[in-house]
């Protein structure tokens, strides 16, 4: 059995290795940050952490002031009681899964991840097999099965192009780190300038500087947004003046949750694109089977029961780890 403790509503601590995974502060000697989404970042902005190079840049852009030891993917770090390896997680730029080898066995903690990986990430790779698999399961039901990126990108380009042609501003509602840049990458071949609202602009610059193609982009401007631009903004702006004042617009909502038809009326939007940066149900089961662990721990999930049910049919033991924070995607 894996020896762990939970930090309430945040991360996981492996006490014997003195390791904290996505914890909120200085609660272990070695703290690892899987990626730069807010629910995985330490709340204490001044601690020392380990992270990938891209995550370190994104964290600092989002206000982290502490010391970051930057690690390369798949080059192990030797600690006093463990050897730690980061694997590309395919979720957002810099996202990493954390592999921990010790006397207790081989543990893989996923953070948030996606396979097949998002095209604007470092890809996805993993150890052959592990003893303990700590996985998120944001989409833990068989109603969730993602279409390939290219298929969705093509539909999104068609939506944007048609809107522009008919004199409307296409608006893509999506989270401003990861999803936004993924959407921009998908739309880039159209050749239109994309405007991004608020804090997202600084994050886009990092993607651009690190060599990811997210097309032409500039910060949101009320004066030019209707001028053959595509607008990228979080769904929270739906009831803010920026969008309310934009009269001729076609609005798309881009999220794994767009699978649900009810989101259409709940949000009053024109188009749903179920593009997720999380692993889908079927890939998750396949991965569990491939890793062949002694135990799967399921975190960040609205419902661990269904995954457990299927794993037990495959002869894989599992249990839920109670943590919150599964709402963002």
């Amino acid at each position: 059995m894996l020896n762990y403790t939970l930090e309430r509503n945040h991360g996981i601590i492996l006490p014997n290795q003195n390791i904290g995974l996505d914890v909120s502060g200085d609660v272990a000697r070695h703290v690892f940050v899987s990626h730069a989404h807010a629910d995985h970042l330490p709340r204490d902005r001044y601690i020392h952490v380990y992270a990938t190079q891209a995550t370190a840049r994104l964290m600092r852009a989002r206000g982290f002031k502490g010391d970051v030891t930057e690690l390369d993917f798949e080059s192990p770090l030797e600690l006093e009681n463990a050897r730690v390896t980061l694997y590309p997680a395919g979720h957002i730029l810099g996202s990493a899964m954390v592999g921990i080898e010790s006397d207790e066995g081989h543990t893989l903690y996923t953070g948030d991840y996606k396979t097949p990986p998002s095209p604007v990430t470092e890809g996805f790779s993993r150890p052959e097999s592990v003893d303990y698999f700590i996985t998120e399961a944001t989409f833990p039901l068989p109603i969730y099965k993602w279409q390939p990126h290219e298929e969705l990108f093509a539909e999104m380009r068609e939506f944007a192009f048609k809107a522009l042609k008919e004199g409307f501003t296409p608006v893509f509602l999506c989270y401003n780190l990861g999803k936004a840049q993924e959407v921009m990458h998908g739309l880039a071949p159209l050749g239109f300038t994309q405007q991004i609202h608020g804090a997202g602009y600084e994050l886009c610059k990092i993607y651009d500087e690190l060599g990811y193609d997210i097309g032409k982009f500039e910060p949101y401007s009320r004066d030019t947004v209707s001028d053959n631009r595509i607008l990228i903004t979080p769904s929270s702006s739906l009831d803010q003046p920026m969008l309310r004042n934009l009269k001729r617009k076609r609005v798309a909502y881009v999220s794994g949750w767009a699978t649900h038809e009810s989101r259409r009326t709940q949000l009053t939007i024109d188009k749903l694109f179920p593009l997720s940066d999380h692993i889908d149900f079927f890939e998750l089961l396949d991965l569990c089977e491939a890793l062949n662990p002694k135990m799967v721990y399921i975190t960040h999930t609205p419902n661990p029961r269904v995954v457990s049910h299927y794993l037990s049919e495959k002869g894989i033991a599992s249990r839920p780890l109670n943590m919150e924070g599964f709402d963002d995607d």
Partner: protein
């Protein structure tokens, strides 16, 4: 002629899906009109319009595929080779829709894909499947038919097949009014004429066919074919410019009913257009013995004894009883009180104004000795209040205000008829269970089971027992807060339901209290809804079952004025 492929069910489903994804009724109407104009024969037009607006069968046919939503869901779970309780229910909770869940499972689960070979069924073939389902009585056989149908369909076809089978709206924001507009656009007919044909025939499909064949003028009303009832809006929801344009009637606390009679043939229809003739033999006998010329009356069934209109609770004992015993009809005798006339002397009267119809009703009822509601001129708002109080004293629910110049707006709820009611009461309750919402509330917990306290009640061991289930009366903001606060109170989860610790107090408003022996409390509330979430109160402040009992007894035994003076109706 219908173009090749135009009559496929898959195309119909694709059109409906596009409509569901389009915003604005004009755009939706145009899409459907364009589709209809490509259908070249009456049968396909009938099917397409019927499937979109009425269901598998015409709403006046009385036919149903009669297959419960649980049976469909169980059948789908088996088809997809998944566990119903653990997997299917969780998926339905997440989407808020069984048909949407089934569509996705059919797509995603390899076994479900392998079993299916979509074979481009035509609208006619799908109709045939519905007919087979309707004819089949046994559940196993119905399930076998479902499986055979699904084996030939894409996942989108399956989703809409299930929705059409359920009768009524497809829940895509495209209702009767828009369908009528689309029909008139597709076949270049007058919208008013299509609307009228819909009212007369009771069927959207039939109206579309008449429109296509240029025969809308032949749409005639037929006796013994019920017409959708005109409905009233709560007065609070509408702005009334000139109260003096209205007349007032007391609002009977009974059961709405449409009577069709001619000679010794008499038929009774309920608000949902079901035939209820056999449930009220004394009313039928009364009308038979009058040997009336062809007539259709709209009115109310009430229990009437001792010259007094009796509480709805007594009428309830008669409702749903298919063949009441003489003892029952003796104890709770029912009368019919007319307040509108829709057909007389071979002539439909819908298009006449209310005062016109009223004149005809008056002379008809007085000639044949039929009870009719009294009407009062409205002179001022103050006078409305006096009449309202008097209606309550009679044991009636309140007042109906009807616009003098209004036609009979079948099936519609506008401001020509207004109801003035007082809530039956309100009690403070605690939330015991939260249930996942469905439809547009999918993905949130929007339905709540509310309980009253029995902690000092010797008859019960529990602290709280359920008294009602409410799913309205709160704002979006309140619902959001409820969903957040309830997370802290979760004790257990059963599929789409959370069991909660007592913690949130809700002031629950309702129209009436009824005895219901099948519930733990022994009472149910009529139309319970949130009046206020009482964040300021604790569960110990909740009302008790005893309080509910007292309210009930007060209502039941409250003195009711007999009909000896200031009568509510005429012709006893």
């Amino acid at each position: 002629m219908t173009k090749p492929g135009q009559d496929s069910f898959l195309l119909f489903c694709k059109i409906v899906q596009v409509i569901s994804e389009s915003r604005g009724t004009v755009r939706k109407t145009d899409i459907f009109a364009d589709y209809l104009s490509g259908l070249g024969n009456t049968s396909d037009i009938d099917r397409a319009v019927r499937f979109a607006g009425e269901g598998a069968f015409s709403s006046v046919s009385g036919k149903r595929a009669s297959i419960g939503s649980r049976t469909v869901a169980l059948c789908a779970a088996e088809f997809c080779n998944i566990d119903y309780d653990i997997v299917f229910k969780a998926c339905r909770t997440a989407t808020g829709s069984a048909s949407e869940t089934i569509e996705k499972l059919m797509d995603n689960i390899p076994e479900a894909r392998e079993k299916r070979t979509p074979s481009a069924l035509s609208l006619a073939q799908v109709e045939e499947l519905f007919i087979q389902l309707e004819k089949e009585r046994k559940r196993d056989a119905k399930q076998a038919l479902l499986v055979r149908a699904w084996e030939q369909m894409t996942s989108t076809e399956i989703k809409y097949f299930i929705r059409v089978m359920g009768q009524g709206s497809l829940r895509i924001g495209f209702e009767a009014k828009s369908i009528i507009n689309a029909v008139s656009k597709a076949f270049s007919s007058d919208t008013e004429a299509v609307r009228y044909a819909h009212m007369i025939t009771g069927s959207l499909g039939e109206a579309a066919v008449l429109s296509f064949e240029n025969r809308l003028h032949t749409a005639t009303f037929k006796l013994f074919q019920p017409v959708a009832f005109m409905l009233a809006s709560p007065i609070e929801s509408r702005s009334v410019d000139h109260i003096t344009d209205y007349i007032a009637e007391e609002k009977f606390d009974g059961m709405r009913c449409q009577i069709h009679a001619q000679g010794d043939t008499v038929m009774l229809y309920s608000r949902d257009l079901n035939e209820i003739t056999n449930s009220f033999p004394e009313v039928v006998a009364f009308f038979k013995q009058k040997s009336l010329p062809g007539v259709v009356l709209d009115g109310e069934l009430c229990v009437f004894t001792d010259n007094t209109i009796q509480p709805f609770q007594l009428l309830q004992k008669r409702m749903g009883v298919k063949k009441p015993s003489p003892k029952m009809t003796g104890e709770y005798p029912v009368v019919f009180i007319a307040y509108d006339i829709l057909y007389n002397d071979d002539e439909p009267l819908f298009e006449k104004s209310l005062i016109n119809r009223r004149e005809i009703l008056k002379s008809f009822c007085d000639t044949f000795g039929i009870m009719r509601s009294r009407q009062f001129e409205v002179k001022s708002r103050e006078q409305v209040e006096d009449m309202f109080d008097r209606a309550l004293a009679h044991g009636n629910e309140g007042l109906m205000l009807k616009h003098k110049q209004s036609t009979y707006e079948y099936g519609q709820r506008r401001k020509s008829w207004l109801k003035v009611k007082k809530p039956g009461g309100s009690i403070d309750t605690v939330i015991m269970y939260a249930h996942a919402g469905s439809g547009k509330r999918g993905g949130t917990y929007s339905d709540f089971t509310l309980g009253v306290s029995v902690s000092e009640d010797d008859r019960y061991e529990e602290e709280f027992i359920p008294i009602g289930k409410a799913y309205g009366g709160y704002t979006d903001v309140e619902l959001k807060r409820l969903n957040k606060e309830m997370k802290k109170l979760i004790v257990d989860r059963f599929g789409p339901t959370y069991s909660l610790k007592p913690g949130i107090v809700v002031e629950l408003e309702f129209d009436d209290i009824q005895v219901n022996k099948r519930t733990k409390a022994g009472y149910t509330l009529r139309f319970p809804r949130f009046k206020a979430i009482r964040w300021d109160l604790a569960p110990s402040d909740a009302d008790t079952l005893m309080d509910v009992e007292q309210l009930y007894n007060k209502k039941l035994h409250d003195d009711r004025k007999p009909q000896s003076e200031h009568q509510s109706f005429i012709g006893i």
